[in-house]
């Protein structure tokens, strides 16, 4: 975390090492938690089952078993695959997730980097994963993979736009691109003079919130937008040919991305690491803040996975027309209205 020169005197490389470890932790903890909580337990609960029970108490060590198993699996690359790209692709996806976490604030002083244009940076690096997916699809030398990769590219690029436009409303209201400042704006803001619980932008930017959630669902390729990995159509899309560790990277990457985006949503719309009633600058917030943020992330992720396990999926063309004909016009109107209101009040 940002233990920067003030707290402890560390050499630059030591600090860097700490930050890298911190990001890895920040990625893996929520990802692992999501897999266990939502994929294994919540899904099973929704389907009136129990989910994993044998590995550890209530199956809590299931994920460790998964990792241990995938480590032992044979690492195959299909004949005819572009081997170098094929092996690289999962890392590209994972790196894009790691980079997102870099700019997310966890407390008043707990951040990896405090970028002035944080949200802009996050939106930019999160779209890197498209590249990884496209590479995976192309390098697999498999028609299903290729179809999945191309579907993913079309979908992710289309949904970048409503996502960015939905954020613009928040940015207008907060008046900054810095995520730390956006959290503060929500903590200190007030709605029509009533400031007891600040101004979480989910209240004033509700349209933006909904748009962002929808676009995020598509960016995460979760149902109803899971065409790139549509199991009943194209097997598992771009992941079809991946085995062992590399598949695990994709698998974890999927959930880590969900974690990263839910952290972004929590920061942009739910007040980030702050809860009303707590001190905004107290030192203890550096410990409590991450927990609050994690709690909000779980809340957001719950919605993501709730929808994922419930809805059927769109068709590719329906998805595109939904983005271009519905989401983008609405988000433009949202920006317009936000701008007008900002000027009026």
């Amino acid at each position: 975390m940002s233990l920067g020169g003030s707290l402890l005197a560390l050499a630059y490389w030591q600090e860097t090492l700490l930050r890298v470890l911190g990001v890895l932790l920040a990625v893996i903890l929520p990802a692992g938690g999501f897999v266990y909580l939502f994929l294994f337990k919540m899904m099973s609960r929704m389907q009136s089952r129990l989910g994993p029970m044998e590995a550890g108490p209530y199956g809590s060590l299931q994920l460790l078993a998964e990792v241990g198993k995938f480590l032992q699996k044979e690492d195959l690359a299909p004949e005819g695959a572009d081997r170098r790209l094929f092996k690289m692709a999962p890392y590209i996806v994972l790196i894009s997730v790691l980079l997102v976490y870099v700019a997310v604030p966890f407390g008043p002083d707990a951040w990896f980097t405090d970028l002035d244009s944080g949200i802009f940076y996050i939106l930019a690096v999160s779209s890197l994963s498209v590249l990884g997916i496209l590479v995976a699809g192309w390098a697999s030398a498999n028609k299903y993979s290729l179809t999945g990769g191309i579907r993913a590219a079309g979908q992710l690029i289309a949904y970048e736009i409503p996502m960015v436009l939905a954020v613009v409303g928040v940015v207008i209201q907060a008046g900054t691109l810095n995520l730390q400042q956006i959290v503060r704006a929500q903590a200190e803001g007030e709605i029509f003079g009533f400031g007891a619980f600040g101004n979480p932008f989910i209240l004033t930017q509700f349209v933006g919130f909904v748009l962002f959630m929808i676009a995020m669902q598509a960016e995460l390729t979760q149902a109803p937008f899971d065409m790139p990995i549509a199991e009943s159509e194209i097997v598992t899309g771009y992941m079809t040919e991946y085995t062992g560790m590399r598949f695990l990277l994709f698998f974890i990457g999927e959930f880590a991305t969900a974690g990263a985006f839910s952290a972004v949503v929590a920061t942009l719309f739910l007040g980030g690491w702050y809860l009303p009633g707590l001190s905004l600058d107290a030192n203890y917030m550096n410990i409590v803040g991450p927990l609050i943020l994690f709690g909000k992330m779980l809340l957001v992720a719950f919605f993501i996975f709730w929808i994922r396990f419930t809805y059927p999926r769109f068709r590719e063309d329906q998805l595109q027309s939904f983005a271009w004909k519905a989401l983008i016009p609405i988000s433009l109107v949202n920006i317009l209205v936000t701008g007008i209101l900002k000027v009026v009040f």
């Binding site: 899904m43 929704m46 389907q47 009136s48 089952r49 028609k143 179809t147 149902a223 109803p224 899971d226 065409m227 549509a230 199991e231 009943s232 159509e233 194209i234 097997v235 396990f309 419930t310 809805y311 059927p312 999926r313 769109f314 068709r315 590719e316 063309d317 329906q318």
Partner: protein, 390 residues
């Protein structure tokens, strides 16, 4: 969205023509092998698709990966042994497969099962239908990407299977029907339990209706997809819900004289006019409700009496030919049984299975559709591999 027949035909023709023109003029398409081990094909169907982008230019289903040679094996079995085999043709509709064969043999043998046996046969027949179609109702969701409904289907199917097990001793493949009656009578208290389960089945139908039928995405994915005009459906010999969803009001249970007890129950034949995937789903959903209704009514009015006519242990069926068909869960299933009068089994037994005809429409139907629609159409046509390949 109700289209006239002419609109449907012209729409499909234009789609196909467009796809063909694009294929001939421009790009070199991609040949995609869907199956034989693909999640969408319920096992082992293989569909060779020629794609232009994601549009299917032509599709050629390759079946036979589950061909077990039933018609030959039946010739090598005795009549009593045949039911064991034919249970496994449509493995979800287990008991319903036995009934038409047994009825055909009974017609050749000129014997009729007692009244109670006929009622019980009808009850089990309809329960087989419920056990079969509930799985379809859930599976359609899975094919379209909603994973949860199929778990509900498996959950509620268990109740029906338990009841079958209580009577026949097998969760499925009961092998319970005999020439001249049934193997056993009901256990005590079975009727009340069944009625309770039928209420659960109706609840399950409501649940599916809430989960899928009202869902905008589901409707978008199924309405207007895979439209089968009535004339084409008849030419290909589509049957069951696939035919009734095109507006043909034909149900063998109602329209043909049969010794079974459907005539004693009050139920409706469900039809729909659209002929698309949604109509097929909807018709099947309502049919499950009707089946539950039939079972409840028949249990209430179940006559008492023997369940087996007087039959010799060695069956010697007189020379002759008989055709009996019934409205099975998947559609019209029939047996053309030829007996040579000898002590062994059927001389020839043509098994007319519904899925074979239902699937034979695929090359025509898939032209011009998109890959995701292929999945929706396959799921909504609802086939069982054993029923196609026999």
């Amino acid at each position: 969205m109700t289209l006239t027949e002419q609109q449907q035909v012209s729409y499909i023709a234009s789609q196909a023509a467009e796809a063909r023109v694009r294929f001939e003029l421009e790009t070199e398409g991609m040949t995609l092998n869907i199956g034989p081990q693909h999640p969408a094909t319920h096992g082992t169907l293989r569909i060779v698709c020629r794609l232009d982008g994601e549009q299917v230019v032509w599709a050629d289903p390759v079946c036979g990966y589950m061909h077990r040679g039933y018609e030959k094996l039946v010739e090598a079995r005795k009549y009593q042994q045949v039911t064991t085999l034919i249970n496994r043709i449509d493995w979800l509709g287990h008991f319903a497969n036995e009934v038409p064969f047994i009825l055909a043999v009974e017609r050749l043998y000129e014997v009729e099962a007692p009244e109670r046996a006929q009622w019980l046969r009808t009850i089990f027949f309809e329960m087989a239908r419920i056990a079969n179609i509930t799985l379809f109702l859930g599976d359609m969701g899975v094919q379209l990407g909603a994973i949860t409904p199929v778990f509900y289907a498996f959950r509620d199917r268990e109740h029906v299977l338990n009841l079958m097990e209580a009577v026949t001793g097998g969760r499925f493949h009961p092998n319970f029907d005999r020439v001249g009656g049934l193997k056993d009578d009901l256990p005590k208290g079975w009727g009340d339990e069944t009625k309770a389960v039928m209420r659960k089945v109706e609840e399950f139908c409501d649940q599916m209706e809430n989960l899928l039928v009202g869902n905008e995405i589901f409707e978008k994915r199924t309405r207007g997809i895979g439209v089968v005009p009535q004339k084409v459906a008849l030419e290909y010999g589509l049957s069951g819900a696939n035919l009734r969803s095109t507006g043909v009001d034909w149900d063998i249970r109602r329209d043909e004289p049969s010794p079974l007890a459907w005539k004693h129950a009050d139920w409706k034949v469900i039809t729909h006019t659209a002929g698309d995937s949604f109509a097929r789903y909807w018709v099947r959903l309502q049919e499950t409700r009707e089946a539950a209704k039939i079972v409840t009514q028949l249990i209430d009015g179940l006559p008492s009496g023997p369940i087996m006519a007087k039959m010799p242990a060695r069956l010697r069926v007189p020379k002759g030919e008989a055709w009996v068909h019934t409205e099975n869960p998947l559609g019209e299933m029939g047996y053309y049984v030829v007996s040579d009068g000898g002590p062994s089994g059927p001389f020839r037994c043509k098994i007319r299975t519904p899925s074979f005809n239902n699937i034979s429409i695929l090359p025509w139907l898939l032209r011009g559709t998109y890959v995701p629609d292929v999945v929706a159409i396959l799921a909504s046509l609802y086939f069982i591999l054993g029923d196609i390949d026999r």
